[in-house]
Symmetry: C2
Subunit: 452 residues, 2 copies
């Protein structure tokens, strides 16, 4: 029979078993962390009515979306998790309690031009808190704590959560009489890190059309830095001139006030007035998160406060705050940068049980059953291969323990077990052996996924 | 602005938060159980090259598949997890170790006619063991143990794993000279439970064209029953007449021999000669699993042994054995039959922390942070609502505990906590309160998802 060459579509991540285990660990940390903050898991369909997904319409989204017909249905694959959330909340409004806190870790689809590190199918890991009519500012103050816990539990140490408030920005531009030019200005100052202050000033004057003094004033404002107290003191100097600015400053003060109570160290947090987030629906606090040793990666967790989640589907005013992690891209970057902890077990099993002859099959099975009852991941190896091939199999997969069960062991009711990493071999009764194996597994599994 | 009516496509399951929590529990049990048996998780793309998915071609599959173009790519959504596995193993053959044991829990897509309880997007939960050239029969013997553990840990008690062997069937039809009619016969006897023996006999004679004696012989054979020993003794009576039959009988004896060692009670297991599984690629042991009190649901976990997983993509002979649970349909049935345990917590949080005034905000946040550090799922409630509205919110979501933190508590460093199920309220220091809450949560969470 002629064979079809097996292949996976380009732009679609499909991992080998060992890296997949690392990905699963990351997802488990995200699920567990989000749950600790009282978010409930949701799982919306991958396919939606194209009209629903494209209600907002326009722009890149429409070009990139996977859209097709089936029968007479106009269908599309979701391109983010926010639009399906908006639909879900509008649809189920009467059955939900607000604030409604949900997380979703799911695949989304964008038919981008294929290039290295860009994916057409990728996981997003989102959390959102949705209010009914109003939503207290404390929800915005809590987000940095969730970001901090998430990355810390993943193992990352050198990262910074950068926070700004759109009301401060919009208020500042209003008091400067620059509201109409604010989009252009924000797009320009967003490049500050990349092109430097002089170049930003030049663009502001020559392309955006600011006077030299105004451009200097804008630059002075957005480069305010220092610790939280210093930044807020500097911002107080602008207070009293614009109502929106003052509201934003108060919100920022609330967000920074409770950081210690939320368990976020000052080192991992900075007010950064250059951050605006491109999306025009953010209206209050905005967040970005950068890896200090890998600034080229950009933000690995971003989001913000918005005033109206579901305006295309309902008259209800549903303000919210949310953040999103581009999990597939993050995993790709961590992997490329060799930042995934290679010491964590990635084998399918903790123990490979090897009967020394067919006569010990029953004893081997009974032993495997007991280990599994203890939660120890156990594979029974019964293929008719040479002993050396069996050990090679365990070693190649990185299985930490091999059990050798022969006639002596069965007669004595003991187990011979070998720590394949250390080369140590022991014979003991089941309980002793299981406790010994358990202790070593606990030691092997205590690291985190990302290398600090 | 005119609003678009929010809706979810028909045939797509989208759960409210409480049932979604139950679904998550089921998935967690599956992941954990499969891992205990040494299966590694895989995650293949939802979209594949249509040529790859349709390599086998023909039949219902081709009609039901979601197929579309993007640019000049001919794409399709996977309709099962087996074809993607075959592609994966053929593609990564050189980097995998065999036997290769993987599980995958993922969504698949079939554009079936929409009807109640039928889904177009649904989860399958599959495990497969793939050998390279050969695969020992013990792998087939292990499958009933995995099925047993899975359903037992989900909470189901009254279920039966029904096992047969295709070699026994094919061998029997060969020794009867009925090989050419065996497909028609198997399709008929498959209806035995529904239409009864007399009707089956009638169809075998009138439609399939057997003589009355042959039809009686077939019926006598496939209705052999009793415990494992009795069935095997009856089958021994046919031994020595057909080589394939004898091989199948030996395999069946191995599968039944180790049941006790694998921890499978006789009560949950039966050899059932009526089971054939429609798919023609099964070649050895086949499995079905039925809920004894809900036979109308049909098999909730099925599969079998096959000789050639990836023949469309590679010359390698890759025999395997696998089973699949139709998770979305199972969840739907359990929910309809009111078999999901309503006593398990489905709230997004274990504890709702309520500061009694804005002055206790910091104390409330610090308390929430400490609870979260202990792994207790904690929501901070900071909306400006009346006290009664806050309690109603907790009660409506089924949050087990509310914490009331006022000036007295902050001054004394204590916590007032109320068990909302029992109406009991206490004030204690943090450690005492947390231990008390933890103990009650452990009690609440000890049940299983499915009611016995």
């Amino acid at each position: 029979m002629p064979k079809l060459k097996p292949h996976t579509l380009s732009g679609f991540m499909e991992l080998l078993p060992a890296p997949q285990q690392q990905m699963e660990r990351m997802m488990a940390v995200l699920r567990d962390t989000y749950a600790r903050y009282g978010f409930t898991p949701l799982d919306t369909p991958v396919i939606e009515d194209a009209q629903i997904l494209l209600a907002k319409g326009g722009g890149e989204t429409e070009k990139q979306i996977y859209r097709f017909t089936k029968g007479d249905s106009d269908l599309a694959l979701r391109f983010d998790l926010t639009v399906p959330l908006a639909k879900y909340v509008a649809l189920n409004y009467g059955q939900l309690s607000f604030p409604f806190r949900r997380y979703q870790i799911g695949k989304v689809y964008r038919g981008e031009r294929a290039q290295r590190g860009r994916f057409r199918e990728f996981y997003q890991a989102d959390i959102d808190v949705i209010g009914d009519g109003t939503l207290d500012i404390v929800n915005e103050a809590e987000i940095p704590a969730i970001i901090y816990q998430t990355f810390t539990r993943l193992g990352l140490k050198r990262f910074k959560i950068r926070v700004n408030n759109r009301k401060i920005l919009n208020g500042f531009y209003a008091m400067m009489g620059l509201t109409e030019k604010s989009q252009d200005i924000m797009r320009t100052v967003d490049k500050l890190d990349k092109i430097g202050g002089d170049k930003v000033r030049e663009i502001l004057v020559e392309d955006v059309g600011l006077s030299a003094e105004t451009a200097a004033e804008v630059l002075r404002f957005i480069t305010i830095d220092g610790d939280n107290a210093a930044v807020i003191a500097a911002l107080e100097g602008y207070a009293g001139r614009d109502e929106l600015f003052d509201t934003g400053l108060n919100e920022l003060k609330t967000v920074t006030r409770y950081l210690a109570d939320f368990g976020v160290p000052q080192d991992n947090f900075a007010v950064d007035l250059t951050i605006a987030r491109g999306l025009d629906y953010y209206t209050g606090t905005v967040y970005e998160t950068t890896m200090l040793d890998h600034p080229e990666v950009g933000s690995v967790c971003s989001g913000g406060r918005y005033d109206n989640l579901a305006e295309y589907y309902t008259d209800k005013q549903l303000p919210g705050v949310g953040i999103s992690i581009g999990l597939t891209r993050l995993f790709y970057v961590l992997s490329e940068q060799k930042l995934l902890n290679p010491d964590l077990p990635t084998a399918p099993a903790d123990v490979l049980v090897i009967p020394m002859s067919e006569e010990q099959q029953g004893y081997a099975i009974a032993t495997a059953t007991k280990l599994r009852d203890l939660g120890i991941r156990t594979q029974l190896y019964s293929e008719k291969k040479k002993f050396k091939a069996k050990i090679t199999y365990a070693a190649k997969l990185g299985i930490p323990f091999a059990l050798f069960l022969g006639g002596d062991e069965e007669a004595a009711g003991t187990i011979t077990y070998k720590n394949l990493n250390r080369g140590e071999q022991n014979t003991a009764d089941f309980d002793t052996a299981a406790a010994d194996i358990r202790a070593e597994l606990d030691r092997l599994n205590q690291g985190s996924v990302i290398l600090g």
